[in-house]
Symmetry: C2
Subunit: 358 residues, 2 copies
Amino acid sequence: MENSIEHKMTVKFHTIAWQGGPDGYAELIDQTLLPGEVRMLPVRDVRTMWDAIQRLQIRGAPAIGVAAGYGVVLGIQPLSDIDRIDTALSKVQEVCNYLSTSRPTAVNLFWALDRMKKKAESAGCKTTGELKEILLAEAQAIHEEDAAMCRAIGTNGAKFIHDGARALTHCNAGGLATSEYGTALAVLYAANEQGRQFSVFADETRPLLQGARLTAWELHQAQIDVTVICDNMAGHLMSRGSIDLVIVGADRIAANGDAANKIGTYSLAVLADAHKIPFYIAAPSSTFDLSIPDGTHIPIEERKPEEIACPWGVRTVPEGVNVYNPAFDVTPHTLISAIITEKGVIEKPNRKSIWNYF
Amino acid sequence: MENSIEHKMTVKFHTIAWQGGPDGYAELIDQTLLPGEVRMLPVRDVRTMWDAIQRLQIRGAPAIGVAAGYGVVLGIQPLSDIDRIDTALSKVQEVCNYLSTSRPTAVNLFWALDRMKKKAESAGCKTTGELKEILLAEAQAIHEEDAAMCRAIGTNGAKFIHDGARALTHCNAGGLATSEYGTALAVLYAANEQGRQFSVFADETRPLLQGARLTAWELHQAQIDVTVICDNMAGHLMSRGSIDLVIVGADRIAANGDAANKIGTYSLAVLADAHKIPFYIAAPSSTFDLSIPDGTHIPIEERKPEEIACPWGVRTVPEGVNVYNPAFDVTPHTLISAIITEKGVIEKPNRKSIWNYF
């Protein structure tokens, strides 16, 4: 079967889309409402896009990059096509500065805004109308490149999902975190498109439950068999022989292959190792930070205690009790069976194999 | 300092208490309201006690046993002291049958009801008034024996909590699960009474959050330094060298030392082993089921999906998605450093050392 047809069959949603020409608008799934409600949020001005990024209506590093690109297009729409080009170029700067404050730690946000600015400066447009066209094309290119990157990760990793496999994943490294398909989930979608039957266990992923809310939702949409468990149940399943592989995404990978990902990933890697279960990471090459020699140099963001202590507005931890809420942990490369990227697969990643890969 | 004075200083609540004589009433902390509200629930009839057990206002195997004993006393209060003794004895049977339906799987419930029935039958009371006195005394004996058992577990295990230790615990094996002090937490309370300074990390313990709601509450009441984490954060803390020991309770221990406890315990034991951190179980001798050769024979209760899918009435898992909710897992004896009971300590438990112990 042809991939593009199957693709439509397995991923039925668009995290973000652009409607119309340079004077059109963006539409995105409001992820704060999932899984209770699937509502498309029309985004018709740059301020609404800023809010959407800031409030996590759209989240996941690659998806934020795509949203930022479209945000710049929205930001210059108030200008008339016959406004002076230097006015338009300075407006692009202003809009990029504004959007960069929406989520100050998202690397892909800055990367996308930088790319939009450079395009505006280098394109040599004569009119504002022409600049609008050029910038929409650039935003769409960011979007398409991201989608192609996800599909390539899927294709490269699909061989690890054998028929009848029971895969475990953590957090959401899916289509909702990218423009389409995702990273770890792209591998599952690709295996599904290749006609393999398998099932997935999704850790609910405390505190923010991205696994229960987002991963389960998108796999279910794609008609892939998915079962949600609490994070503390993975070891029990492994001990019963019910898990064949673990596959997750990554937020940052050091030069030796040590990988930072959502808190809880490290525990899964230790458990997988103890049960001799392969542990895969799927991430774009841009996730590697070769300036960092190993995982001890990756800073771990601590988030506010209320995420744990007051889920859904209900206080579950007594007042006055300490709460510790690290957002990430680091899995040492020795526990990683392979890293799957859009370029290929790095088996048993270490400093040397990663050096050869780049 | 004398222990009994210190005791009052560290455990400031009574899970359950009896007020007055045979025509008095029970009082218990409504655990469904913790930690938001500390409300004593007066229990003046057997039906209210049945409800309290069934609705988990009181929970934890030993505490349920104590509640059942007082429930029998409440059950025969409607009789007059001058009613015929054979009427009273058949009322005891009826009340015990009724109470046994409150939580059909709680072993201590049946054990306590059986003990109350046997006492009623063997005491040779001449009057109903006399029987009421005898049964209150028996219920109080169950209560006191449980408290003494907890204190002995604490005394036996306190040596494992050194000054400056950072202990990790899971679920609630505390005073709220027993008449007083608990099992795993009894060890911490005893070390505290002996003047040692240490800190505790409490897993929140999904899905029902007994760690966040109950363990954190009672350790905070006792002015012991406690920090709540999500279950998926324990491995990260261990990798940073921030955990010195793990101590948990148990629901059932097989003849070879394999121990069933709240789901997530097994993962902690594997993680502790990988980080060379001692892993202790504290439980009364009655937890051993010597008819079971090893952990593979311990049935694992599966609970309803809503506990995971709809926490606090908010649906977090999409409709139609599978949920797996095992309540317990089994930790093999090879991962257990020692089992602490009211009679002593079984180091490196195995079939032989447990055989010698009993």
